[in-house]
């Protein structure tokens, strides 16, 4: 009986096919990132990279660890829902290292105007004033405590309430 012999062109084709398949899996092995496909059709480590980014705003809980008295005072007034960092700015660096990093003071004494200047776009019930009529040239903190806006500062003699 005649022995079956593989034609040489088929052998060459088979070699090329195997080479293609091997190079495909080889490329996949080296090029596809480790965490790819763990959660879905993307690199799962991206989530960890985003999660590891540094924060600037430390959150109200961090403030309360040391400044519980100020937080308690604020809770009595109309500003109770406002987070400390809304007005004082991002302070996670201060929370991490309170001794060397000190928070800046609010230097703009008309800071309140940002929210409370009268504007037709504001919700009607929101407390708002025309600041030029309401305060003239005086600063807000002369008559209002920042943490308890209905209260007056103790030191100075108070102006008649408007």
């Amino acid at each position: 009986m005649q022995k079956l012999k593989m034609p040489p062109q088929i052998t060459r084709l088979a070699i090329v096919a195997v080479a293609i398949v091997v190079s495909y899996f080889g490329a996949r092995f080296f090029l596809v990132p480790k965490s790819f496909g763990k959660y879905g059709w993307y690199r799962a480590d991206t989530l960890k990279e985003y999660a590891a980014l540094p924060i600037s705003y430390g959150g109200a809980k961090a403030c309360e660890e040391c400044h519980s008295d100020e937080v308690a005072a604020k809770a009595k007034g109309g500003h109770k829902l406002i987070s400390c960092e809304s007005c004082h700015g991002p302070l996670s660096a201060h929370a991490a290292d309170p001794t060397t990093v000190s928070p800046g003071k609010i230097t703009n004494l008309r800071f309140c105007v940002r929210c409370h200047e009268s504007n037709m776009s504001l919700p009607e019930k929101f407390p708002q004033v025309k600041v030029e009529e309401h305060a003239g040239k005086s600063n807000c903190v002369e008559c209002h405590l920042g943490h308890q806006p209905k209260e007056q500062p103790k030191k100075k003699e108070s102006k008649p309430a408007s």
Binding site: G40, A51, A52, Y57, G58, A62, P90, S92, N119, M120
Partner: protein, 272 residues
């Protein structure tokens, strides 16, 4: 030799004892320090954060927004967004709806929308006289973190994707800066960062959520117009669930079928 040996031994034992106590104290101090650091917000991201255990959602009450712009400012500071106009991950729009022309059947007239510097510095009083205005309100905007996100589908290299906990983020190692996603987003929430030449967008403060903090915009919002919560948190006092149960909520451009994860209460029909 004999007389000195007890004192030497005693001294050695004392030193050894102190060393043991010291070592134990150091060992005990480490977990305590770690616990303290974990309790503080400045701790690194917890490794235990499981993206499958959360489903984040933001709700915005338009009626409460006062347009102070603290959220815009906080977002820029927290995420180091380019401090120029036109680069915003969140911004505020002021809608002014004029009264209809005298004699027209529609009491609502022209709608005017403005957003000076994205609302970053608050809003100056409008130049439109009060008598002509029917109503006016502020609408805070940000990436809607769509369930069915067009940007995710437009990306040719698969750099943008939805996380299991409901944020749409960009893998910066894949992004080629082609800008297709920027064109695909119907809400205009993306921009091309001129420094990195890559697309950039709101990440729903992923680095804060994974640390157990609120997003920067929610943290600083003075009126509680923005709230953020976990829909997988089944406690009855979960504010986000209460908000969704209590209010009539709506999304922006519902006809596009993008299924945004940012819900609005009190939206008017003019808001786009």
């Amino acid at each position: 030799m004999k007389s000195s040996s007890p004192t030497t031994r005693r001294r050695w034992l004392t030193v050894l004892g102190q060393a043991v106590v010291g070592l134990v104290a150091v060992k005990a101090a480490r977990p305590v320090k770690a616990a303290v650091q974990n309790a503080l917000a400045t701790a690194p991201a917890p490794k235990s954060y499981d993206p499958f255990a959360h489903s984040w959602r933001m709700c915005i009450d338009v009626e409460k927004c006062i347009g102070c712009g603290l959220c815009v400012e906080a977002c820029k500071k927290e995420n180091h967004v380019i401090p120029k106009a036109a680069y915003f991950r969140t911004w505020i729009e002021r809608y002014i709806i004029k009264r209809g022309e005298p004699g027209s059947e529609d009491p609502r007239g022209e709608t005017i929308v403005d957003s000076p510097n994205g609302g970053h510095d608050g809003f100056p009083p409008s130049t439109i006289p009060r008598e002509e205005v029917l109503k006016s309100f502020f609408v805070p905007k940000l990436c809607n973190q769509c369930e069915n996100s067009p940007c995710d589908q437009a990306c040719p290299v698969g750099a943008t994707f939805r996380t299991p906990d409901g944020a749409v983020i960009i893998d910066k190692t894949y992004c080629i800066g082609c800008g297709f996603c920027i064109q695909a987003c119907p809400y205009g929430c993306r921009y091309l960062d001129p420094n990195t030449h890559m697309a950039d967008k709101c990440t729903l403060c992923y680095h804060r959520l994974s640390r157990g903090l609120k997003t920067a915009c929610v943290e600083v919002c003075p009126t509680g117009a923005r709230i953020l919560g976990d829909m997988k948190d089944s406690r009855p006092d979960n504010p986000i669930r209460q908000f969704v149960e209590k209010n009539k909520v709506q999304v922006i451009k519902p006809h596009l079928g993008t299924e945004p994860r940012v819900l609005y209460a009190g939206l008017d029909k003019e808001v786009r």
